[in-house]
């Protein structure tokens, strides 16, 4: 479809250079000094072209994306290089010149739609704010156009959805409204900053399709920032890989996927290659029997959930957010006593509430959380954090405790020098390792891992998963692994439990669950996981319709 209704603006031909960044250097201020964030990156974007920017967190993707607008976040400064947008020097431009550009010629789509919409205003007013603020069209024309965009983005009830407030629609819908907001002034360039990272896979697919179609329809150029290679493969014409603020390589999408040149690029999807052979276990360590659970009196979240966890194996619980995965974990640990049903451990029923369990029962079930940051006392050193279960469960003191601490650190592949460090001095992966060591210190039978790798970059994820697998092999630990990431599931699990709206849809060996025939929901879930094939999304849409 050709570009239309662009307000008669001269849009230039497809293929003309729209954005040219040369040797851009950006500094960020933290810990009382300036650090390099971007160290001399070049970027050339043509009209109508979509460039994917990928890399792990801290690679400088968002910073570079925002710099393409001439914007630096508070605490950052663009130090060197040139940024030329459509013949205009953005580094030399003053604030009011830039503001004329923002929201009219360049638009931004942020990661967290829920946080990026002002809670105090209706969606329609926020959608057209920039369009009427820049006098691109009048209010009524902008509203009519927004309704059309809502329709094009497959939002339900496009005529009326705009009169709702942000908290009244779902995350996936908000993300599409934000795309409509970016598209409303018909910009030349849209910066998509991890727009689907916060969404469930099933929702992600819908949003990706909607975004891709609308960008194609209006021939808008885009920079698509993500850490997910499979996602960027669906969206981008060209992919640029960033690491430590430098370009690793850039190539056309197909070439990049088929033949990545750099080792780093190859390693980015190594986690997807990690695969554990499944192993059926018959000795049931923990068994959840017909559990119903609710928060408060009204909000019932688990309906007749029964799960068997074999000893020394990994059971992965998958499902989208709100499916009851974490609630199941809370029931097992006793944090949320169930309304009906029970949890059996080694054939015996566990007391429902945490306070009724014996110290030994508590010791045998340990938990590791998604946010290692908030799961550790920031004022305690690593040694103190790991000592706590040693003292509490095993009554260890003095030299014996010190010896055990060193052993535990060795197990998680960190040396004894970490003992005196504070959590704030550790990287994300190291923090998660400390949490693992703390769980191990109790010498548990079962460890419940609640999204433990979700907040980590792919390479770090791989390290943590390998560590967990090794520990399982050495100590025969049983894992209940809660995740929404199918790649992690294939990497670590023996059995899979699929949950949807508080019910268990399916439970079985990995091979059974991941092979057809699928129940409807499992099929939807599995087919929504992006693959590294650039045609995957196109094929999926064709298949589903």
């Amino acid at each position: 479809m050709s570009s239309n209704s662009n307000g008669g603006r001269d849009r230039g031909d497809k293929g003309d250079i729209l954005l040219e960044m040369r040797n851009v250097e950006i500094d960020g201020f933290s810990d009382e000094r300036w650090h390099d964030i971007i160290r001399g990156v070049d970027l050339t974007l043509r009209r109508g072209e979509v460039m994917g920017l990928i890399g792990e967190s801290g690679a400088g993707k968002s910073t570079l994306g925002l710099a393409a607008m001439g914007f630096a976040r508070p605490g950052c400064r663009i130090k060197g290089g040139s940024i030329n947008f459509n013949g205009m020097d953005l580094r030399g431009a003053n604030e009011s010149e830039l503001r004329k550009l923002w929201g009219s010629r360049i638009a931004y789509v942020a990661q967290s739609a829920a946080a990026s919409f002002n809670p105090a205003h209706k969606l329609i007013d926020q959608t057209i704010e920039a369009t009427i603020g820049h006098n691109i069209t009048g209010e009524s024309a902008a509203k009519a156009d927004a309704v059309e965009l809502f329709g094009a983005l497959q939002l339900p009830d496009p005529d009326n959805i705009g009169s709702r407030y942000p908290h009244q629609v779902s995350g996936g819908q908000l993300q599409r409204v934000m795309t409509a907001m970016a598209m409303s002034p018909r910009p030349d360039l849209i910066i998509f900053d991890e727009p689907t990272t916060a969404l469930d896979v099933t929702t992600q697919v819908e949003v990706l399709v909607a975004m891709r179609e609308i960008v194609e329809r209006f021939n808008t150029a885009a920079i698509y920032i993500t850490h997910d290679l499979a996602v960027v493969a669906q969206m981008a014409d060209v992919i640029k890989v960033l690491r430590y603020g430098e370009e690793v390589e850039e190539a056309e999408t197909r070439a990049m996927l088929e033949e990545p040149k750099e080792d780093y690029t190859k390693s980015l999807w190594s986690v997807r290659a990690l695969q554990k052979p499944e192993d059926k276990g018959d000795d049931i360590a923990l068994s959840i029997r017909h559990v119903d659970a609710a928060y408060g009196r009204s909000l019932k979240v688990l309906h007749d959930v029964s799960i068997d966890i074999p000893r020394g194996r990994t059971v992965a619980v998958v499902g989208e957010s709100g499916s009851g995965k974490s609630t199941t974990a809370r029931v097992i640990t006793g944090l949320l006593p169930p309304m009906t049903g029970e949890v059996q451990f080694n054939g015996e029923a566990l007391p429902a509430a945490l306070k009724d369990r014996t110290k030994d029962q508590l010791r045998r079930i340990q938990m590791i959380y998604q946010m290692a940051d908030t799961a550790m006392n920031p004022k305690q050193t690593v040694g103190e954090i790991i000592s706590r279960p040693l003292e509490f469960y095993h009554d260890m003191r003095g030299a014996q405790k010190e010896k055990r601490l060193t052993e535990l650190l060795e197990m998680i592949e960190l040396d004894a020098s970490f003992m005196d460090r504070l959590p704030s001095e550790l990287s994300g992966g190291q923090k998660q390792r400390i949490c693992i060591a703390r769980a191990l210190a109790a010498e548990p039978d079962i460890i419940i891992c609640d999204e433990v790798t979700s907040a980590l970059d792919q390479i770090v994820q791989e390290g943590i998963l390998k560590l967990l697998l090794r520990l399982q092999k050495e100590f025969g630990i049983t894992y209940l692994f809660i995740t929404h990431d199918i790649a992690v599931v294939t990497a670590i699990s023996d059995e899979i439990v699929v949950m949807f709206q508080g019910e268990v849809v399916e439970q079985g060996l990995k091979s059974e669950i991941l092979e057809p025939p699928f129940p409807d929901y499992t099929k939807l879930l599995l087919s929504s996981v992006p693959e590294m094939d650039p045609d995957w999304l196109t094929d999926l849409v064709a298949n589903r319709s």
Partner: protein, 329 residues
């Protein structure tokens, strides 16, 4: 029922309950005061019989719980009681109802508080918003430093400083009245002129809190992703603050405004004394020292009600400016 309505009714119920509990506290603490009206009026040399007769007339011989029930029952029927002073036993009966005593003072207090609020609230909002807009600028620092200085001094000190500066002829040609002894018969203009100094004093005392909270509430929101989004849509700084930050900042701002307005009504007795202003604060101090229990209790109850009502209002503002509560899913 709309959730807002039920929340409001709930808060209202809580407010009434609080007022009831406070009435018990007021009653008991005044009952704990040493001595009573009889001794106070008749003096130490009075015959015990005379004091007893006097007590009987005032009902002070009844047990405390009965006196409380009498008092609260009368209040529920709109009767604040009669002042102890000027009763028949002390000569001829010239006693007045509490309402007669308190109502002119009440209107004076509300007049002073109202005039101060009309000046101080918009001034603080303006200073707070502009300071947030130009944060870390010289303007911001100056506003912060000045307001911090004015709250750091006790209010009587500020009051006397103002008297020296603005009424003592230090600045030639400026001689504001140091006595704010207004009467009901004065025309509005004269009354306003008389209360200039107390109004300035109280404004200086309360602007700092409100201004700093406004500034902090807005700056706190400026780190939100939706503020960055608004910037990246090309909204001007003023628009970002007024349209995107302020609507989400009302709850904390309303709370601190309510607190300070309550102070204007309740806590100004020092200012009233300095400027000889006939307000409720003075009346209460006088009634406590003369053990005129009905008046003291009525004043205390009025102060408590002021606090509760203003805080209730702040809560309501917090609720209706929160779209999550106003427009549930």
């Amino acid at each position: 029922m709309h959730p807002i309505l039920s929340t409001v009714l709930q808060r209202l119920g809580l407010g009434i309950l609080t007022l009831f509990l406070v009435s018990i506290i007021i009653f008991s603490s005044i009952a704990l005061l040493p001595g009573d009206f009889g001794e106070q009026v008749l003096g130490q040399s009075a015959l015990p019989e005379t004091v007893d007769a006097f007590r009987r007339e005032l009902g002070l011989d009844k047990p405390a719980w009965l006196r409380y029930l009498d008092w609260i029952g009368a209040i529920l029927q709109g009767d604040l009681g009669t002042s102890f002073s000027g009763r028949a036993s002390s000569g001829n009966d010239s006693s007045r109802t509490v309402w007669e005593l308190i109502s002119p003072r009440l209107s004076n207090t509300l007049f002073l508080a109202g005039v101060t609020a009309i000046i101080a609230v918009p001034l603080s909002l303006f200073l707070g918003i502009t300071a947030a807009l130009k944060r870390n600028s010289i303007y911001d620092r100056a506003v912060n430093a000045v307001t911090l200085t004015t709250i750091s001094f006790p209010e009587f000190f500020i009051a006397y400083m103002l008297i020296v500066l603005l009424a003592g002829g230090v600045i030639p040609g400026v001689a504001l009245p140091t006595l704010a002894n207004i009467t009901e018969s004065m025309p509005l203009g004269e009354r306003l002129f008389k209360i200039t100094l107390p109004v300035i004093t109280m404004t200086l005392v309360i602007v700092a809190y409100m201004m700093r909270m406004t500034r902090a509430a807005i700056i706190n929101l400026l780190a939100s992703p939706y503020i960055e989004m608004a910037q990246l849509k090309g909204a001007s700084k003023t628009r970002v603050i007024l349209k995107h930050a302020l609507p989400n900042a009302w709850a904390p701002i309303a709370t601190v405004i309510a607190f300070n307005l309550a102070y204007l009504v309740v806590g100004v007795v020092v200012v009233e004394v300095v400027f000889v202003y006939p307000g409720v604060g003075q009346l209460m101090v006088d009634s406590v020292s003369s053990r005129d229990i009905p008046v003291a209790q009525a004043c205390a109850l009025f102060f408590a009600a002021t606090y509760i009502i203003l805080n209730l209002l702040a809560d309501l503002i917090g609720i209706i400016t929160n779209p999550r509560l106003l427009h549930p899913r």
